[in-house]
């Protein structure tokens, strides 16, 4: 660059209001390579270094497949090997059941539906007649639970709101379906979980 170009650079800088002090730096000749640098260039040291790196990975892939020493294969063979998702990951919803009686833990309080910012939960309750201490009473129990995963943003506010630890967002991440209707999960799906194809490893 000569003086003219420098002036142009100044003009551009003032036009665009860039106050970069790099424009004020004087032009200096490119420093000559030192003897070591010239020697390195002659024997193509950097090229050989790069080739050594790739060869190291190639040998590492064959000898150290599981990448114990760090130069093996990092690829996760997804359908065969399943990834370890992070503990804070929120995935498919689930309605937990009492492990002994296999009754649902849901008390149909509707708190999850109220907590949901996307309105994707519908809790449908019904009244049943029960007898408590010899007196007939009516109790609200869960009839149907609709969870629209296509609208869910997996914020887990419903999980936080649930007083009985019934609704939970699990670590299951395979939510894809073939139709839009498949995203809407009913009570059975929420309790049993969706069936996914498992591949042998």
């Amino acid at each position: 660059m000569r003086e003219g170009n420098l002036a142009l650079a100044y003009a551009r800088a003032s036009d665009t209001l860039i106050t970069d002090s790099r424009f004020n730096m004087p032009l200096v000749p490119v420093p000559e390579p030192t003897f070591t640098q010239k020697l390195k260039r002659f024997f193509m040291v950097d090229l050989l270094k790069g080739m050594g790196l790739t060869l190291g990975f190639n040998i590492g892939a064959l000898t150290d497949r599981d990448s114990v020493a760090g130069k093996g294969i990092y690829t996760e063979q997804y359908p065969k090997e399943r990834p370890d998702v992070a503990p804070r990951f929120h995935g498919a919803p689930r309605l937990n059941m009492d492990p002994e009686t296999h009754d649902t833990l849901c008390i149909a309080c509707n708190l999850c539906a109220l907590a949901c910012p996307e309105d994707c939960i519908d809790v449908i309750a019904m009244d049943v007649e029960i007898v408590v201490a010899g007196k007939p009473r009516r109790k609200k129990v869960l009839d149907e639970f609709i969870f629209d995963t296509s609208r869910c943003m997996f914020c887990a506010l419903c999980q936080e709101a649930c007083p009985t630890y019934c609704l939970e967002l699990t670590q299951d991440f395979e939510l894809a379906t073939y139709s839009r209707a498949g995203f809407v999960w009913n009570r059975e799906m929420l309790e049993q979980g969706r069936e996914t194809v498992k591949y042998e490893s």
Partner: protein
């Protein structure tokens, strides 16, 4: 089983002689069998070269590569072939249809036909021993350029045309230094027949690589550039030209271009092996097999030796491709015309001086350098030493002369091209926020 395999040629020969005359068997049937075997084997080799390339590139990038089709993905080339056969054969509008259809076939034929003169081994492992084999190889392999130009032109697409122009310029530039690099080796072989070159190395029990290290390096680099392989893959630079000359091709025609590329690679490795790495010659093989009367075993072992050497060079191709970034266009031309061509010329001159010196020293003061000049230039140990010293001293001489003639030329280094720069002391590592005010002293 092994004995059956080794006895096969004589058995088939006696079988054929019952039906045909001796001349028909020797000059028609056997060549046809050889051609069929070589074409099949080369096609298989090409198919599995694609598999190897994918596998090796995957390993170098800490991946696994194809794993699903067959064990270790070994059937992947077959699956790819079936997929490509079933794809639509698309022809762009306003394309020159006739040339568009013919171009891929020219590419494949030009690549495969060279295999006819390559000596895969001694005796029956050679299809034909042409006495101008090297010339034939150079001539036919440069026909491949024609296919690329025709493909690029007939596609009626800007990317294809640009790719074709680039590839033609590149191939023409590197063809020159490739041809000149061979001459040094031919001075020691004293023949243009490829079998003769191998014979010269075998009778001399040395590889010409030791006489001609520079020639070997130039030949390999020019070969890689000839095949449009990375780091010289400008004709099909994905980031600039989509796919270069075969942008508009699809399906089977595209796979023909692909096959041509890999076949050309195989050809260059085979020719480089023949000229510089001794071809099928390997120490002790003759003494252990042929001398004991196992002729067919000798041929088979030589064949395996040849394939092993060529395979190593093929690995070098993959290795370079997945290590080095692509050259810029001016760097490519610089390397071709300012470095490769002078180096090849220097190599010729120095080799000629070396050969003349060896011939002159023979018989001087009782020195004995030449054993015979009948089958190549067979040298005694002292003659070999002189030739090897000349070959490796040539490395330093060439480097010196090249830096002398190129010292004023533009450097590959962009910083150097600029001659003057603004030195700014930026802190190491990427700053989170680009500093607006950088206060520093410019170094003198």
């Amino acid at each position: 089983m092994l004995f059956a395999l080794l006895a096969a040629p004589t058995f088939i020969d006696s079988l054929l002689l019952k039906f045909f005359s001796e001349q028909t068997v020797n000059y028609v049937i056997w060549p046809l069998i050889q051609v069929g075997a070589v074409v099949t084997l080369t096609a298989g080799w090409v198919a599995y070269a694609t598999y190897l390339e994918r596998k090796i590139s995957a390993f170098m990038q800490a991946r696994l590569g194809p794993m699903r089709v067959g064990p270790w993905g070994l059937l992947q080339p077959i699956a790819d072939g079936i997929k490509l056969l079933l794809k639509e054969d698309f022809v762009p509008e306003n394309a020159d249809r006739w040339i568009f259809f013919v171009a891929p076939y020219i590419a494949v034929v030009a690549a495969f036909i060279v295999m006819a003169v390559v000596p895969f081994g001694p005796d029956w492992a050679v299809i034909t021993d042409v006495n101008i084999g090297v010339l034939f190889v150079l001539a036919v392999s440069s026909v491949g350029v024609l296919a690329l130009i025709l493909a690029g032109w007939s596609s009626n697409s800007k990317y294809a045309l640009l790719g074709a122009l680039r590839s033609s310029a590149q191939m023409v530039s590197y063809e020159v230094s490739m041809g000149l690099a061979i001459i040094g080796a031919l001075m020691f072989a004293r023949t243009l027949s490829l079998s003769g070159v191998v014979g010269a190395q075998a009778s001399n029990s040395i590889w010409f690589f030791f006489y001609q290290p520079i020639g070997f390096v130039i030949f390999l680099i020019s070969g890689i550039a000839e095949n449009n392989r990375a780091p010289f893959d400008l004709p099909e630079a994905e980031s600039e030209l989509v796919a270069g000359f075969h942008t508009e091709y699809s399906g089977f025609r595209w796979s023909l271009f692909f096959m041509a590329e890999y076949a050309a690679m195989v050809v260059v490795t085979a020719v480089a092996t023949t000229l510089y790495l001794g071809g099928w010659y390997f120490p002790f093989v003759y003494r252990l097999t042929e001398a004991h009367g196992y002729h067919n075993l000798y041929v088979v072992v030589s064949l395996i030796v040849f394939l092993g050497k060529a395979g190593l060079l093929l690995y070098l191709y993959f290795w370079l491709r997945w290590t080095l970034p692509r050259f810029r266009y001016d760097q490519l031309m610089d390397l071709g015309w300012k470095w490769m061509l002078p180096a090849a010329l220097i190599n010729i001159v120095v080799s000629a001086i070396g050969v003349t010196l060896i011939q002159g020293l023979d018989g001087w003061n009782g020195m004995h350098t030449i054993r015979s000049i009948t089958n190549g230039l067979a040298l005694t140990p002292s003659g070999k030493t002189i030739a090897i010293v000349f070959g490796f001293g040539n490395l330093f001489l060439t480097a010196g002369i090249l830096s002398l003639i190129n010292w004023r030329s533009r450097d590959f280094n962009l910083k150097k091209q600029r001659r003057q720069i603004r030195l700014v002391d930026l802190p190491k590592g990427k700053p989170a926020v680009m500093p607006v005010e950088i206060v520093s002293e410019a170094r003198p």
